[in-house]
Amino acid sequence: MIPVESEASSKDGVKIIYVAKENILQFLKEKKDEGFDYLLMITGIDYKDHLEVVYHLLSSKSGERLVVKAKTDGEIDSVTSLWKGANWHERETWDLLGIKFKGHPNLKRILLAEGWVGHPLRKDYPMEKKQYVNLKEDGDDTVSFEKKEGY
């Protein structure tokens, strides 16, 4: 059994479990074996002094839901080995929040162009600095701060 750091409840009555980030993969594997077969989404929250990774689980047999959270400083184990759907969700969390997932097969930006500077959902992301995207001949993106170099 993996130790649980603390428990809470959300406003809609779903249990929230905090787990140490070293144990996250093992803990989610246990939960998956217990019947939480759906990984609905992976997301992150920037609390300025630390980041939090949030996993929403669902059991399609009982309809039960569970929220698992882990505090991190920007790196956590990937759960792509448990759910195939985790692949895109982790890429998105890396793209927008800058949380690295160790062991992810293809941790590249998914919504923004490759080469983008910064992670927009961080609270300290500079909103006034515009970045311009363009397309190279081979179909890859380029990003620049110069207005004339992109759109």
Binding site: S10, D12, I45, G63, K84, G85, H89, I110, L121
Partner: protein, 381 residues
């Protein structure tokens, strides 16, 4: 394989070559701005990687910059084919977070409106899916039927596509007797008209031959990829949040959840069409049960200006036309959401695209992609 065998027999010395084909982002059958990098061996797809993000606006960041009600216009523009279903996911989460009570009449009106919008959304899908499969006439029939729904929604909300109609604490305006009359007239021949369109698909030999057994996704893969909605039901699981975790007043209404076993394009078509019949059934029942009373919580005189400080977090899942949709809200004690995460069904559904495409012919690709019903406002957010 066959090609290399033929070449050997004919004595042609040629190396088997994998050809890379770029599909989209500007292509009529991608239903938006999807790009797929496809690798082909002859006509068979050996690798397919969807590239998304061409419609990315970061609605999450924009929503985290204003008061709670202001986020609603961004939510509207997620799945623009079913804007009311998107609004519903938002207002339910926000009301839970702020502990706001909603009058009964508003809940019933909401239920009727999302079902009407679900039918409209499925009509767009059915029409464009027909177009992808080379059938031109169902497109016109579907848009004719969809137009009738838009007239009704226009009468009630004042807009045709992006409504901004639900509000935290109720709805913006009451339904008028005229609009209820319009819905009754529309209901009287809806099933007949839909069956007509349905038969064009079911009785077309070419359509059936092209879609049966195409784009299969097994139930295990469906769950592993987090796929929900009609695609999950077409793969053999009777799972509908309106039945399994009822919100609004769905527990007081009789309707069936359609499901199929095959998990292919044809099964998805059958499931969606049956869902439209069931949605019409729900609308008819709401008309009978619609109670009198307020249509918004009178405590908040102007819903647009609800500025309530909220703490904690909430996520209310709803069944949108594409699957499980909900907004994960985290409040920090101010009147502005601290974290605004959109769980978008199309994003999860599209991530399963490689599993559905690899091994099939390139000609089946448009069928499979359109059967997923991706809307890119919601995939890219």
């Amino acid at each position: 394989m066959i090609r290399s065998h033929l070449r050997k027999r004919r004595g042609i010395e040629m190396q088997d070559k994998i050809v890379e084909v770029n599909f989209g982002p500007q292509h009529p059958s991608t239903h938006g701005v999807l790009r797929v990098k496809v690798k082909l061996d002859g006509e068979v797809i050996v690798d397919a990687q969807p590239v998304i993000g061409y419609l990315h606006r970061n609605a999450e960041k924009l929503s985290e910059m204003g008061y709670y009600p202001k986020a609603q216009i961004y939510v509207d523009r997620l799945d623009y084919a079913a804007a009311l279903n998107m609004e519903l996911g938002f207002v339910l989460s926000a009301e839970k977070l702020m502990d706001i009570q909603v009058p009964d009449r508003a809940l019933w009106i909401r239920m009727m409106m999302v079902e009407l919008n679900r039918i409209a959304s499925h009509f767009i899908w059915l029409g464009t899916h027909g177009l992808d499969m080379g059938m031109l006439s169902p497109f016109f029939y579907c848009f004719r039927e969809r137009e009738k729904i838009f007239r009704i929604l226009d009468e009630i909300t004042g807009s045709r596509l992006l409504y901004n109609y639900f509000a935290i604490g109720g709805v913006y305006s009451d339904v008028t007797p005229k609009s209820l009359e319009m819905i009754k007239t529309w209901l009287s021949d809806f099933d007949k008209n839909l069956t007509e369109i349905e038969n064009i698909f079911k009785k077309s030999y070419i359509y059936v031959a092209r879609t049966k057994g195409t784009g299969k996704l097994s139930l295990d893969d469906t769950i592993s990829y987090g796929v929900t909605g009609p695609m999950l039901r077409a793969a053999g699981k009777k799972w509908d949040l309106r039945k399994n975790k009822p919100y609004l007043h769905y527990d007081q209404i009789n309707f069936d959840v359609p499901s199929q076993q095959a998990g292919d394009v044809y099964a998805r078509m059958l499931v969606r069409i049956e869902e439209m019949h069931q949605s019409a059934r729900i609308v008819a029942q709401v008309l009978d049960k619609l109670p009198a009373g307020d249509f918004y919580n009178k405590k908040y005189s102007k819903p647009m200006l609800v500025r309530i400080k909220a703490t904690g977090e909430s996520y209310i899942p709803t069944e949108s036309p594409k699957g499980e949709f909900g907004i994960y809200l985290v409040g920090d004690g101010s009147a502005i959401p601290y974290r605004f995460r959109i769980r978008s069904p199309s994003f999860a559904n599209l991530s399963a695209a490689p599993a559905m495409l690899i091994g099939y012919k390139i000609a089946d690709m448009t069928a499979t992609l359109s059967s997923m019903d991706p809307v890119f406002g919601e995939v890219d957010r």
